[in-house]
């Protein structure tokens, strides 16, 4: 009895849970910030270092340019944040840059943005994990000594977690992110207090090193180019800013306003941290070189290839808090954790973007279905594979991986902002309310400046980083673009092929009668059930069909058929090679030849078993036959399943799978909300 009531109960409980979840998953700002901002906030762990690294090429004297570069990054950050605040208000559906570009600039631009974002997700995983490992390594040397292996291990771990379907929890994000942000702020404040009030001299562990400039006394164009390169590297701080614009549906109401506020908070936190770290690095005399083994001198000699260059953030923390102190360790751990969370956001974002692209038929249809485990799994494995490949090729070196990064981000920034300008132009053409027009003109100005500035940065990034690795990112984008175009073309071709003719459907192709053919190998419950069902269908003719593979068995079957007095004729096909498929196919074809206007219905009894190894023992010839029959025109194939006891096991598994929740569901917001927004737009 308990079993019978079990099913409806489960369904009820399932339903109850589902509607409960709706409210729960809407995010307040204090949770939304860490969920969406772990990627951009965590990038302050590596971006300042990259700036110093590039400047070091011109010697340590070039470090005094770093505040100016920080200012440029801050201006850029404010521009981008201001621009995206417009996006969030104009496109609250969560389509993000892809939607903005597609709607306003056409599908090619949209697809370019999508390709850029897909590449970017891969690089987010690779860069964040490599950087996380380096941060962890400054506290635990073992980790940095086995950099690549540890990075791959983290990727594998994240992949397994996401494949298993760990429910993304806002709180899970909140704690390390807030610990990280507080840690950095405490560090900045404590550093300022020690330096300004106590007058302490804080020295980074690399303070006594000297840098051998690769190009001493760089000036003119070469210097400008170097500064631009340093600026490009600093722009790594901006990656992930667009995440919030994809996540508007996940916010509490008023959604757009809350999202815009969160965006502003995120920008403010990021620039403060970025600048604070740069200033502390200058004060504590952090020394970083692009090629530390040869360019970093200790007592006049190169430090050699055994030297491990720790990230700026941990060097500064060591100077401010003291080496091995509690706060130092907490900050190093929180930094690594936030970077891993940032990588995890890509695991969520990649399949989400995939499902949006699938809606537009650029990717296989099934990705469209929300929470489709298989589709998500494919996306996750693809992402992990590509990230592992990059990490392995580049030896988990965040500095080298960052050269590939940013291109994609700025491609999507630029196209999205350009699209927004078009958006406002279009709305301004019809809008008459002066107040609204003023507002729109203001928004357009912001987006125009955003488009111009991000476009400029894109050119700078391409010019300064192309040979350093940006070409790899461009190549990746092209591969995604080409694949998605091909998929879309395939779907379009099929759609044209199967389009229904207008008007009353043409009766010339409509079959007039159905011959039913029931396949029999033995008389047992499954065949008797299939026989009963076949009779119910009342087709024009019904015959049972068996293939004579073993004459003795066939004879026994014939005798039992008669003995039981089954009122359906039994036809026996000969099979000289003991095959089943070919004789049946040929018989069906011959039926079709005799009466081409009729349809043939082939009914196949099937066992349903619960384990994969049982599958190997049953239905193999039925499966093959079905596969072949599908290629025969004018045929329909009916399976009449018979559930064996062991099939219960499979049912249990299927139920468990149903309870799986797709990664990224928190950041997408409840599905019903999304559907509403979506249909509202149409």
């Amino acid at each position: 009895m308990s079993k019978l009531t079990d099913v409806p109960k489960r369904i009820l409980i399932g339903r109850a849970l589902r509607s409960d979840r709706l409210g729960e998953t809407l995010l307040p700002k204090r949770i939304a910030l860490p969920v969406f901002a772990s990627d951009p906030l965590s990038s302050v762990a590596y971006a300042p270092g990259e700036v110093l690294l590039v400047l070091s090429i011109a010697g340590v004297s070039a470090y005094h340019f770093s505040p100016w570069i920080a200012v440029a990054v801050v201006v850029l950050m404010f521009t981008v944040v201001a621009s995206y605040r417009q996006n969030v208000h104009a496109y609250p559906s969560g389509g993000g840059d892809y939607e903005v570009a597609t709607t306003n600039l056409g599908p090619r631009a949209g697809l370019t943005v999508a390709s850029a974002l897909l590449v970017d997700y891969v690089l987010t995983v690779a860069v964040s994990i490599a950087s996380g490992i380096e941060n962890l390594g400054s506290a635990i040397p073992f980790v940095v000594e086995h950099k690549t292996a540890c990075a791959v291990a983290v990727i594998v771990l994240l992949t397994l977690m996401n494949l298993r379907g760990v429910k993304e929890s806002g709180k899970l994000f909140a704690i390390p992110t807030y610990v990280f942000v507080s840690g950095v702020f405490i560090m900045i404040l404590w550093g300022a207090f020690r330096g300004l009030v106590l007058g302490d001299t804080m020295r980074a562990p690399t303070a006594e090193f000297h840098i051998e400039a690769e190009h001493q006394g760089l000036a003119g164009f070469a210097l400008v180019f170097l500064l631009l390169r340093a600026f490009s590297s600093g722009c790594a701080a901006l990656t992930g800013v667009e995440a919030i614009s994809n996540g508007v549906p996940a916010f509490r109401k008023p959604k757009s306003k809350n999202a815009a506020t969160t965006l502003a908070m995120m920008g403010l936190l990021a620039v403060t941290m970025f600048c604070g770290i740069i200033v502390l690095a200058l004060v504590t005399d952090v020394r970083m070189a692009e090629n530390p083994a040869t360019d970093l001198l200790k007592n006049g000699f190169p430090v050699g290839s055994g030297y491990v260059q720790n990230p700026v953030i941990t060097q500064v923390a060591e100077a401010v808090f003291g080496k091995g102190s509690f706060l130092f360790l907490v900050l190093a751990a929180a930094t690594a954790l936030v970077l891993f969370l940032a990588a995890n956001t890509a695991y969520n974002g990649f399949p989400v973007l995939g499902s949006i692209l699938a809606q537009d038929r650029y990717l296989p249809r099934q990705l469209h279905t929300r929470g489709d485990r298989l589709a998500f799994s494919n996306g996750i494995v693809l992402l992990a594979g590509a990230a592992t490949f990059l990490v392995w090729i580049y030896g988990a070196d965040s500095t080298r991986l960052i050269q590939l990064y940013i291109v994609g981000v700025f491609v999507s920034f630029t196209l999205s902002q350009t699209g927004m300008v078009r958006h406002w132009n279009r709305h301004l053409a019809t809008e008459t309310d002066p107040a609204k027009r003023r507002h729109m003109i203001r928004s357009r100005a912001i987006n125009t400046f955003g488009a111009f500035f991000t476009g400029l940065v894109l050119v700078v990034v391409l010019a300064t980083k192309f040979t350093h690795g940006a070409w790899v990112a461009l190549l990746g984008m092209m591969i995604f673009y080409a694949t998605m175009t091909a998929i879309r073309r395939h779907y379009d071709r099929v759609a044209a092929e199967i389009a229904a003719p207008e008007g009353p459907s043409d009766d010339s192709v409509r079959p007039s009668r159905v011959h039913s053919v029931l396949l029999i190998s033995k008389i047992h419950r499954p065949t008797l059930r299939a026989l009963a069902y076949a009779k119910l269908m009342r087709s024009d003719t019904l015959e049972a069909l068996t293939v004579n593979v073993d004459p003795a068995e066939t004879k026994a079957l014939r005798e039992e058929w008669e003995r039981r007095g089954i009122d359906v004729p039994l036809k026996v096909l000969d099979s000289p090679y003991r095959e089943v498929t070919r004789p049946v196919i040929e018989y069906v074809k011959s039926l079709r030849r005799e009466s081409p206007r009729d349809a043939v219905s082939v009914i196949i009894p099937e066992y349903v078993v619960g384990h994969w190894y049982e599958h190997l023992l049953h239905n193999q010839s039925a499966l093959r036959l079905k596969g072949r029959l599908l290629f025969t025109p004018g045929v329909m194939v009916t399976s009449v399943p018979y559930q064996l006891q062991s099939s219960e096991a499979a049912k249990q598994r299927a139920r468990k799978r149903q309870e799986w929740s797709a990664p990224g569901s928190v950041r997408r917001g409840p599905a019903t909300e999304r559907a509403k927004e979506h249909s509202g737009r149409e």
Copy 2:
């Protein structure tokens, strides 16, 4: 037009070819001998060496026992051949030892024989290829320097050939086998002529070596044990003798008589070659040691681990023909080739035995179907994998691999001969014709002696070789035995579960009405065709069902439904999570709950495409839904395929696959012949 006539033509040509083939595939004795005897004949390439090798443990003086061991092997060979001549007459159906044991000793004995034979096939591949590589290596040193790699390469090559379905050709076997046999006979005759007539002194390349006896002056029980061990190794010459008894249906008429004659010829050739090589080895002073690196002395010093011990047959050939002479090279090449052919016979025999076991439900059903490519492929890959594993573990060392061999052969010899004794006892109990009785009593005597002698050898082999590796073969047999028992038990359990109740079938479970549900996502040709077919089926109710994944699309569908005036109600299911499977399953379940006595027929339109990557783009949700529906009781699932243009490509491929011929088809004889024999027995 050409396309339309193409199909019937192909069918006709296919049919014509098929009946032509029947006569062609029946083997005359001169072709049957090489086809079935490459395995036992090729074993003279390693068996004599193994005898000397074991004897060398007691020092070179023990070599004078080798003729006596040869005599024992010859007596055993004649016994086995005489015994199997009885089998061939009594069981002409090709079931071989498995059939004899099962029929006379029961299924456990049969399964033991089957397990032994399966292990034996694996070892035939491993030993033959390892030995072939060693023979080739005596002409081409590179090969023996990279023994394991070359052996694995040959396994891979044979596997690919057999997977591709190279048609086994009698002629392909005939040429190298006859070249090998002639070569060995010329060597023996030329050696005898040089030694006896010309009075030449022929010296093997190892003639000047000395053997450091591991156990000097062995006597009493220890010496007997050593001689028994040497005899056990010599028994390797008997492997494969039973092959002919599996292949009777492939012979020309009178089948049994021809098979028996071929068996006798094979035995005669094998013992002559075996003895000739042993004698030549003694005359030319071949020196072989079990551990050549330490036990073989050159000028008083061990030859060291760099020394490669060439097989006896090539050492003798070098002594008789001269090193590097044309005949030496031809013989080395022919020996290697025959050994590879011997390995290839296992590739044919393994799936053939598999299909016989599948008939008795010890292996998955689909193996039963003759020429089923997938099933054969699985068998071939399993065989190749196991052989590669052994070759790799044992470093392609034929001497070490031979320790595992023979156990299986003698298990099957002993059980088969014991079975034959029972067979004659049973027949004698009813037979009254004195002439026939005399004949039977004579046969029984032969088989009794055979059973006794092979049983004795089995005990000797087990006693002398158990710790040297025979335990691995026994373990392998147990694994096969356990697996096949488990499979049989599963099939029996299912058979009991699905057995049809006797008497008029119980109407309590018979459904009374059918609700048809047609799944629709869009209106296009495939759905219109499915709709037309669904209407033809005249079920009690018919409704179209769509899942509301995208409200806009659903609205469009509803409007088009009405506009086209389709006279089938359209039901829309809501799906908050954009899923397709769950809402449909739940709806079907609710239909069943409302009227539990009715059946539900779910009709799914499907696209049929030609390439695997297109498959990824279509039908995925349909496939998943079908998979889940099969677990829902009271449901039948109908696919209405719509063939897209690209499906032609798949059809072409399927046609090509049909023309594939399974390995081993020559040795099994034409299927019709077999079927006749088979049904004749029942």
